[in-house]
Amino acid sequence: MTKDDAFAADLLRGHTDTIVLGVLRRGDAYGFEIYKAIRDATGGDYEIKEATLYATYRRLEKDGLVESYWGDESQGGRRKYYRITDAGRAVFGSNVAAWTATRRIIDSLLDVKESQQ
């Protein structure tokens, strides 16, 4: 992993809660689906560790931002699905607003030009 990658992975990890809420906004999902959605979105370059994700689920559930329920699969293990709550949606909304504001500040401080993209 290069230095750039480490920087990006660090940034990503700081927003795990919001990212998970963002994935769940699209629909209920169990752990591996969430993990895969994040991995696919990053093109597989940076992944958030599964252990980090389990800790995130537990914290989000304790804070009432997600609810969980067991699926009724008969084959193999039973999947624990997560569903975003209204409180979760509200927190997601305010986190996204905070992120947008922060990104603008950082872009201007680092002198990032839109045209570079």
């Binding site: 169990y30 993990y35 252990a51 537990r58 009432g64 209204d86 409180a87």
Partner: protein, 301 residues
């Protein structure tokens, strides 16, 4: 099906005390590992390699369990006031101003509309309807705006759902406004159609919102609630059942009295019976839920 997963998972959880919490985590991890191993197998790995890689990616499960174990108990011992202070959220000044404005709009609108409808102020029907519209919009804005505020105990409600409550309140209040217009005789009886439409739509919308509502209480409030001893109805279901039967009896009698009043002295006496029934039920509730407990060894016979 991949057998290795189960063996490796058992090894990973070896020596961990199997609390319900740990058991839950293990089952959750199991299903996720199987999905990951299936994926690896589809990419060409042998079942055994897939299982080993999936479990290796997981890391140490002990860390997960430790993290949640220390979080909870330290908070529960704090007294209520300290908790409230720590989590205190100041009301947003903009919201306070808006709430006052919405309330004034609602009160002024209702007052003028009723004065107009009862003929104290000479107003044509159009403006009366407009005033009730203004009043119910004020009331609905107050409801919607309040629900989307973050408070010390609750997370804010998302905009869409708060808008739903706004609409439900608007329809319900406007419907009641039409009831008032018809009752005061400033609108012909067919106006009751609007009233019914508004109130019924509002009931449907409120039921939908209520049924799909999820918890908005913040974590510390819920922990506190979990630590509070159960009330009498939870401890003694038979007392709760008795209360239910009494309540049904009270309301049956109340509605009978309402019917009698309507057909004898006139419909405007009906609310008296309603208030009576309500009061009786509240007294009964207070008596049954909070009455000093009788000692179980001296049965009251």
């Amino acid at each position: 099906m991949n057998i290795d997963i189960h063996r490796l998972l058992d090894e990973a959880f070896l020596g961990i005390e199997m609390t319900p919490d740990a058991q839950d985590l293990k089952e959750e991890v199991r299903a996720n590992l199987m999905a990951r191993a299936d994926e690896l197998e589809a990419a060409g790995a042998t079942p055994s390699d897939a299982a080993h890689q999936a479990v290796a990616e997981l890391g140490d499960v002990r860390e997960l369990l430790e993290e949640t174990a220390d979080a909870a108990p330290s908070r529960a011992s704090d007294p209520y006031t300290a908790l409230v202070q720590r989590h205190h959220v100041r009301p947003n000044p903009g919201f306070v101003v808006r709430a006052v404005v919405w309330s004034i709009v609602a009160v002024v609108g209702t007052t003028l509309a009723i004065l107009g409808a009862s003929g104290v102020i000479p107003l044509p029907l159009g403006p009366q309807i407009g005033l009730f519209g203004m009043a119910s919009t004020g009331l609905a804005l107050l409801v919607g705006d309040s629900l989307s505020q973050e408070t010390t105990t609750n997370h804010p409600m998302p905009q869409n759902r708060a808008a739903g409550y706004f609409l439900a309140t608007l329809l319900g209040a406007y419907g009641l406004g039409f009831v008032a217009l018809v009752a005061f005789g400033s609108m012909p009886v067919w106006g009751i159609v609007f009233a019914a439409l508004g109130v019924i739509a509002s009931i449907i919308l409120f039921s939908f919102l209520g049924a799909t509502q999820t918890n908005r209480h913040k974590a510390w409030t819920r922990q506190l609630a979990a630590a509070t001893p159960p009330n009498r109805f939870e401890r003694e279901p038979e007392t709760a059942a008795r209360f239910g039967v009494y309540t049904a009896a009270i309301w049956l009698v109340t509605f009978a009295v309402i019917a009698v009043l309507v057909f004898t002295v006139g419909w405007w006496w009906a609310p008296i019976a309603f208030v009576g029934g309500c009061t009786l039920m509240m007294l009964l509730l207070a008596r049954m839920m909070f009455a000093p407990e009788k000692k179980s060894d001296t049965p009251a016979r």
